[in-house]
Symmetry: C2
Subunit: 228 residues, 2 copies
């Protein structure tokens, strides 16, 4: 039985879709929300969609403390305040998968543009905000919430994972790889999140222009070597 | 018979690979180089690889004046000087496909990192440097020179095209789409080159890590709607 994964912001579209997919893959999931009641309600909704799923809902701090792999899935404007509110809850040794994207929409701009983050990327900002001993990994920027939450949709795409700690990155890759049709690709060090986060803005633009729900795939990799 | 395409910097790996592919697709190609002799020599090499090809070599200014679709394929450090040297040669109405990437390697940094360009991207810098009436389109950042120049390699990937002028962008898409296995995707306005240019650094990193020759594909597009 894999250990549990907590998803902070799992009442949002992407977080909830991820919760569904992981629950369906047999991973125990803790749904976190600012409001414990909403978290519990979302957990019930997830359990109704995935019979036999091990899903529970907790307020964000309790959720963050409940797993040693925590996904942060909140809008950019909430990233820093959320991480500050979790400083006591995130235990040393925790791996934090940050899926935040600094879309310009956070300040009333377009979702096809990104803000420049002083640290270089939202993930690098996250690494600065987490307590010592917590390792940030970045990923899941091009996987559409709409596709994740539609369990009848057969995924067939890649997700780029960036991080400085090989073991933490491999752990996230192992988790993501449990979702059928989603292939984790090692995109390098955490600083590469400067590029991978922007791909959300790119795919949003493609979606608008093509009335599509786009994702990305890396071609030309030797078979079986997707994880470097 | 399609009109000719001139490739500035076509003695370089990417430019030469593109020349080969376009020549093979039946497009008349003008190979440009700083040195007219080297251009002629490269044209001979290309013709030897593609029997019946219409390829000739000219010094860059003559090459730039010879077609109304010009590809600029030079290292970032040469982009601005090259464009300045072509100010008289580029006629109003010319479409310039800029494939420049501001890799940090231009100033001795890593090829997996990019420089910040004041205008936002190399393509936007190009738009500032070309004479009035010349329209810049950006593309071909994730297609490996190695794959283009190996005519036995079956391409199967996408290329993201950005530009402000719909007609110019469509022309570039039509040209790129002549190469079998290479699908042009409309990535939006020229400012999106801020994102698409960085994908070269991303794929170079993936290549190093995976000993691969990576490319990109956009998933989830409705059939036949790749060009928005």
């Amino acid at each position: 039985m894999p250990s549990s994964v907590s998803i902070i912001g799992a009442t949002g579209d992407l977080g909830f879709g991820l919760a569904l997919r992981l629950a369906k893959a047999g991973v125990p999931v803790v749904i976190g929300s600012r409001d414990g009641g909403r978290a519990a309600e979302a957990a019930e909704r997830a359990a109704a969609q995935v019979p036999g799923a091990d899903v529970r809902g907790l307020a964000n701090p309790e959720a963050a403390a409940a797993s040693d792999l925590v996904v942060l899935s909140v809008p950019f404007a909430s990233q820093a305040p959320t991480l500050r509110s979790l400083r006591e809850a995130l235990a040393p040794g925790t791996v934090l998968l940050d899926v935040t994207v600094p879309l310009a929409a956070a300040v009333g701009g377009r979702p096809t543009r990104v803000l420049s983050v002083w640290q270089g990327s939202a993930a690098q900002q996250a690494q600065e905000l987490v307590p010592e001993g917590v390792t940030v990994v970045s990923g899941l920027h091009t996987v559409a919430a709409r596709h994740l939450s539609d369990l009848d949709h057969a995924l067939d795409e890649d997700t780029l994972i960036a991080g400085d700690d090989r073991a933490a990155k491999a752990r996230v890759a192992e988790l993501v790889g449990r979702i059928p049709g989603l292939r984790p690709i090692d995109a390098g060090r955490l600083e590469m999140a400067r590029i991978t986060e922007q791909l959300t803005a790119l795919t949003i633009g493609i979606n608008i222009r093509h009335k599509a729900t786009a994702g990305l795939k890396v071609t030309g990799l030797p078979n079986g070597s997707a994880w470097g």
